[in-house]
C-alpha cells in the first residue's frame, strides 16, 4: 500500500480558529467519501481530523486564533493501483512536544477532556506524531479502506445502473 505521489493531492492552510473546524471536516469527509469510505467511516475520519486540529489550537497554540495549520491529503493505492485508503497530514508551527507523550487519558478515568488523542488512535489505522524541522509538529494519519466499496466499483455500479435506466426508458 502506498500513496500515489509525494505531492499532496490537496493542501490547504487554515487559521487556528475553531470556527473553521467545520470546513476542515467537510473537506476531509467529502474526499474520504469519493475515495470509497462509507458514511460512518467518513464521519469518523472527519472526527479524527477535527480532534487533531482541536489539540493544535488548544494545546499547541494555547487557543490563539491567528496561527497557521496545514492539512495535506493523499489517496492511498493498493498493489494493483486501486484506491485503498487515505493519508492525511496535519502540520503546525506550534510548540514542539515529545511525540511519545502524545497520549490520551485512560478511558476508565471518566472526566471532561483528554479524549482527543484516544479518539484519533481509535478511529485511524495509523497516527504518528513527529517534530517538524525547525518548529511545529506533524501528525500523519492513515485510514485503510477495508470496508467501503472502491470508487472503481462504485463507478462501475453507477454505469450499470445508468445503462439499466436507459434500457428501461427505451422499453417504455
Amino acid at each position: 500500500m502506498k500513496t500515489m505521489s509525494d505531492r499532496p493531492h490537496i493542501r490547504v492552510e487554515l487559521l487556528s480558529n475553531p470556527i473553521y473546524l467545520c470546513g476542515a471536516r467537510e473537506l476531509v469527509g467529502s474526499v474520504a467519501k469519493r475515495l470509497g469510505f462509507d458514511d460512518l467511516d467518513c464521519s469518523k475520519i472527519a472526527l479524527a481530523v477535527d480532534e487533531a486540529l482541536c489539540n493544535v489550537i488548544r494545546h499547541g497554540y494555547n487557543r490563539r486564533t491567528d496561527c497557521p495549520i496545514w492539512i495535506s491529503i493523499w489517496p492511498i493505492e493498493n498493489g494493483s493501483g486501486k484506491p485503498a485508503g487515505i493519508k492525511i497530514v496535519i502540520e503546525d508551527e506550534a510548540k514542539q512536544v515529545e511525540p511519545l507523550k502524545m497520549r490520551g487519558r485512560e478511558l476508565s478515568d471518566i472526566r471532561p477532556g483528554g479524549l482527543g488523542v484516544h479518539i484519533i488512535r481509535e478511529v485511524m489505522d495509523e497516527a504518528q506524531y513527529e517534530r517538524r524541522e525547525g518548529k511545529g509538529m506533524r501528525l500523519t494519519l492513515i485510514k485503510k479502506a477495508d470496508v467501503g466499496e472502491s470508487p472503481v466499483r462504485l463507478a462501475s455500479r453507477t454505469a450499470q445502473s445508468s445503462a439499466a435506466h436507459k434500457r428501461q426508458a427505451t422499453e417504455r
Binding site: L21, C22, L40, S43, K44, C54, R111, P112, G113, I119
Partner: protein, 115 residues
Amino acid sequence: MASDENIAVLDDLAEGVVVVRPTGDVDMSRSPDLRMALRAVHEGRPMKLVVDLEQVGYMDSSGLATLVESMRTAKGNKTSMVLCAMNDKVRAIFEIARLHQFFTIVDSLEDAISA
C-alpha cells in the same frame, strides 16, 4: 421556553423536567454555548434534565466533555440526566470514548421524559 440561536431550553413539557435541545454541530467553537446553557439549567436543580440531540448532526470530544461535566453536576445535585435521539454518527463518538455506558441514552424524547 428560553433559547439562543443554537440551543433551546424547554421547561414546560413535563413537571420537573427541563429539556435542553442543541442544534447543528457541537464542536470546539460551539460547545461553550451548550456548557453555559447546561450550567444555567443546573442552577435551577430540576428533577430531570433531558438533552435532546435529535438536531445535532455532529459532536466532537469538546461536546462529550461538556456532557460529562453536566452529568457530574447532575449526580451531585441528584438530578436525573438523560440523553436522547442521537444519530448514528453522534452515537459513534460515545462508543469510541466508551461513554455510552456512563450516560443514560434512550431513543426518543418521549422515552427520555418517561424514563
